[in-house]
Symmetry: C2
Subunit: 334 residues, 2 copies
DNA sequence: CTGAAAGCGCTAACAC
DNA sequence: GTGTTAGCGCTTTCAG
């Protein structure tokens, strides 16, 4: 593997000249430049990002922490982050948090060991205090889909409560009163927010809350079928259901099909959705879209601002949008 | 950020002693070790992977090239690769090929710039010759789900032809004769192999091939609905259908639902499947499982063997397995 | 506009 | 067992 000194030797110049030409710093005699470029081509020279990192104290790497790789959600996120990073000629390092604070800590440790310039954290298990402590360290980071007091500038957030409200309101507007809810794990901040939205929508409409109408899932498909089964067993009078994740909705829908339940004729459905899975169900399911792509892109922009010490003017808070499909029917038409 | 020399100074020893202790090389006085460890803890010291890479000429990074991040397939692959790599204390770098030879080349270039120790390539667009040329370079790599002559040792392969045959045979065994096929893009080696399996199954059973029974998709869900629509329009006598990807099967199934077509009563279905999407459909779809997880893990093992110059005894060729679900019915029962 | 020389943080002979 | 001394491949003052 050719090194800069080989190029310099072949071109008959000093290493620093080659370095400057590579980095486009200053002016050079056209002749010098030509010779150097020719030498680089001839030797098939590519500067070592590693050596460069050491010399510049900047690795050009960005760490992305996610909870898990499986499922479409993470891929979407990563896709956006990588594309944006490509524009800034930065490398992406990923690590999963393995569903524990310890795992997330280890992942960040790896980023640190690699001397990443900054991190994008989709952290679900580190506490607000952990994060605030991390913010005292010199490495900048942004938080994706998380709000931590005192770290507002680094938070890319989404209004989960409003989103859930939108989805549930849509059912209420269609005349539904007995609305079930499959929530996410209530140990997670965003799950609680979504659940909260469900509650608020009911309250706003003057519908009394009934705990037998809610079932806690774990965001996975299997938990969706289990929840649907349990809910229907508990309450045969349910006319509508709201799921806090698309996977759980998929599971629920599968169960309803098995039961020969007609959607939306006998049961109206709305859901959360981040990767448009709801568009692929039958029937297609009306859902609030969680704009993870936009948020991921914004995260990179904000981090880039932090890294280059420039203020970034982007909106950090995202609002939900309801996408109407074929899973909801007015109650009156029964 | 503390450096090794700070630790050495605080512990009152030489840098190389600290280095040796970190890397567990040789013996040290218990006392020295204690002092050093204490100093490291006190300074919150973490060795710089970058400096270490430069000094050892080994980055401990492995590059993973994939075609695209979206969808569950890649996540599954990455999950396995990362876990295995974790065991060997290696870092994972990923890049997507963006569906072009140029994109794949760029991705590999990035790995090279970062001085990755080795690559795992899920390459779909580089030619066999490109790959053979790459094999002449000093950086070792393995090919995931690809067979290239002359590179057998580095190829982790799957018998796509046999897999498709299994899926189609299953339909034939149930008495079906008019079997449609939604193929993948026939520009891809593995797509062709799957299609080939369909043809061979027909031939073995003495069923004449009819081009109006096949439609080429692009592996995406949308192309599945389009293909299903087209096939049904062309041939109303189809009794069974085989899809070369789970996403396309999902699309097709959605279309069949819209058409009120009963599966498997009026139409039997089999599919390829890598992330068990077929288990989440309604009805669940009988499918041949593409063991991407096992293959990904094997890829790491083989690459690790290459990196440590040890022969690896693992089976590099994977065989399909049919997973029977609820989408197939004997033809006689019509 | 280009060269000389020091240094980024670590490891690896080689001494002692 | 531990210290000394060179690098690894690049950038970056500082001269000229």
């Amino acid at each position: 593997m050719a090194r800069i000194k080989d190029v310099a030797a072949l071109a008959g110049v000093n290493r620093s000249t080659v370095s400057r030409i590579i980095n486009g710093e200053g002016k050079f005699r056209a002749d010098t430049k030509r010779k150097v470029e020719q030498a680089m081509a001839e030797l098939n020279y590519r500067p070592s990002a590693i050596a460069r990192s050491l010399a510049t104290a900047s690795s050009n790497m960005v760490g992305l922490l996610v909870t898990y790789y499986t499922g479409g959600f993470f891929g979407e996120m990563m896709d956006q982050v990588q594309s944006e990073l490509d524009c800034h000629h930065k490398f992406l390092i990923t690590a999963q948090g393995h569903h524990s604070a310890e795992g997330e800590r280890e992942a960040i440790q790896r980023f640190h060991d690699l001397r990443c310039d900054g991190y994008i954290l989709h952290s679900r298990h580190l506490s607000d205090d952990d994060l605030r402590a991390l913010a005292k360290e010199p490495i900048p980071f942004v938080l994706l889909d998380r709000w931590v007091e005192g770290l507002e500038e680094r938070c890319i957030t989404f209004d989960h409560t409003l989103a859930a409200k939108l989805a549930v309101n849509h059912l209420i507007e269609q005349g539904h009163r007995t609305i079930a809810c499959i929530s996410g794990p209530l140990t997670r901040q965003t799950s609680v927010q979504r659940y909260q939205g469900y509650l608020e929508a009911l309250e706003d409409a003057g519908i009394e809350f009934d705990p037998s109408l809610v079932c806690e899932g774990n965001y996975g498909r299997e938990s969706g079928v289990a929840a649907a089964q349990q809910l229907l067993a508990q309450r045969s009078d349910i006319t509508a259901l709201f799921s806090c994740s698309e996977e759980m909705m998929g599971g629920a829908l599968q169960f309803f099909h098995q039961q020969q339940l007609q959607v939306p004729k006998q049961l109206s459905l709305t859901s959360f959705d981040s990767v448009d899975l709801c568009a692929s169900f039958y029937p297609t399911v009306t859902a609030v879209h969680f704009p993870i792509s936009d948020m991921a892109r914004t995260a990179v922009a904000v981090l880039h601002g932090l890294l280059s010490h420039q203020a970034v003017e982007t909106e950090r808070h995202f609002l939900p949008k309801l996408i109407t499909r074929n899973s909801v029917q007015p109650l009156t038409s029964y």
